[in-house]
Amino acid sequence: MFIEIKNLSKIYNKYLAVDKINFHLEKNKTIGLLGPNGCGKTTTIGMMLGLVTPSSGEILIENKNLNTFGRDEILKRFNFASPYVELPKKLTVRQNLEIYGRLYGIKDLKKRINEISNDLEIKEFFERKTGELSSGQKNRVSLAKSLINKPEILLLDEPTASLDPDIGDFIRGYIQEYKSKNKVTVLLASHNMSEVERLCDSIIMMRRGKIIDKGTCNDLIKKHGRNNLEETFLKLARSKDEF
């Protein structure tokens, strides 16, 4: 087992955001984290990234507790991309990648930046300020930053939110291709069910801070007697039962 989440809870004041969740991530698998808005996905990701202190429970990476280990030792194995988190707008794409490459201690940084910018087709706007780019271009740059350190664990929060279908498809295709060539475990939070079906080996469904079901897409669709993942999501999100 690569990452194990054990009885993880988070209480903000008296509000229970995450309620004793348990799950594990196998090495080199992609797991979808689904659930309606406010179900605790972002808090769970925040705890995995060390941005939020859990109220109780443990996050174990190869049996080592995330919160007792050296912050930078763990974080250099992680990376994260989200359209809701931006890179400094007034810096050029090249400058941003250079800075994050240095922060992650990348050796032969020029070569790595070159590689990743060719793969993600961001070379054409390399010298433009990040704030001047379109949403699609920004998402590609953000993805480039999240892959700069060749992370072992990649957390993606709605990586294709608000993108046109063409760019969205490009990003999904790239993540698939990257995964096939590199050893990386991905946790993907998304509201796009076709994206989840395409990218994820299995999914975890959350509601009101709890995990209400988990399994492969096909298993869950069958189990709940629905035609596709979207219908399954709606059933699970609206139901008051636990499964």
Binding site: T43, T53, D72, E86, Q95, R102, Y104
Partner: protein
């Protein structure tokens, strides 16, 4: 401490300045205006008041040193605010960089920003008003160290407030130095203050720094004990600032505010 990471974070802020001519102009503009304003005011006092006779250098030097403190503190705050404004906060705090490396990077970069603004103003003061801070001699270095440490401490306390209360604390960032200025005895001796406030003022390094500056310029003598006192008090405040910053950081992690920090 990893100096490559400190350099990387410093570079992020230097790129920001280098990419924008208006930013460079903004850094230079305010100190220059200050020098002009206080230069003319002190020239007027010198010509029209017996008390201020031959003290044009004292007031203007005080203005330059106070501006150094002000710029150091504001530079520290500004760099932290830039991360919030650009919604880069999460990316920064999930990077494998230690909190002490972030503090070191902001502290070291603040001096560059401060000097970019202040050096041209200091140079202008020499031919225009015949005043040079270099007249303070070797003690100038120690006075600047004390001021810089205290400026960074104020920056640390304000950024701790930003971590605790979010961007709404921004206004305090601008007001913080003005709040302390009356107690700092920058332009007047400490005897002017009421006795009760004198006790409070002596707890600040500013009083000792500016009293010593006046002592050097007016009496042509150096009291190193006063300088040592000012640096020691600054170091104590700096350690306090670092502790408060760490508390705010761990508090923000507990409250989950690091995820959503933005405009």
């Amino acid at each position: 401490m990893n100096f490559n990471k400190i350099y990387a974070l410093g570079l992020r802020h230097l790129y920001l300045v280098m990419n924008s001519f208006p930013r460079v102009l903004d850094l230079i503009y305010w100190p220059t205006v200050q020098i002009f304003l206080w230069g003319f005011i002190s020239k007027f006092f010198t010509l029209n008041s017996e008390y201020y006779n031959n003290t044009v250098g004292v007031i203007l030097t005080a203005a330059i040193l106070y501006d150094f403190l002000f710029r150091a503190s504001i530079s520290f705050n500004m760099m932290f605010l830039e991360e919030i404004w650009s919604r880069n906060f999460t990316n920064l705090f999930i990077a494998p960089i230690k909190i002490r490396e972030i503090i070191a990077a902001l502290t070291l970069t603040a001096i560059i920003r401060t000097l970019i603004g202040l050096v041209p103003a200091v140079i202008i003061a020499i031919p225009l008003f015949g005043v040079s801070v270099l007249n303070l001699g070797l003690p100038l270095i120690f006075l600047l160290i004390g001021l810089y440490l205290f400026g960074i401490t104020l920056g640390l306390l304000v950024t701790s407030g930003l971590l605790r209360y979010g961007p709404s604390f921004e206004n305090i960032a601008w007001a913080s130095l003005f709040f302390l200025a009356p107690l700092g005895c920058i332009y007047y001796p400490i005897d002017i203050l009421p006795t009760s406030l004198q006790i409070v003022a002596r707890g600040l390094p500013l009083v000792h720094i500016f009293e010593e500056m006046r002592n050097i310029l007016i009496n042509n003598s150096v009291n190193y004990l006063n300088i040592f006192k000012s640096i020691s008090i600054s170091v104590v405040y700096f350690i306090f600032g670092v502790i408060v910053f760490y508390f705010s950081y761990f508090g923000a992690k507990k409250r989950g505010t690091l995820i959503n920090m933005g405009e």
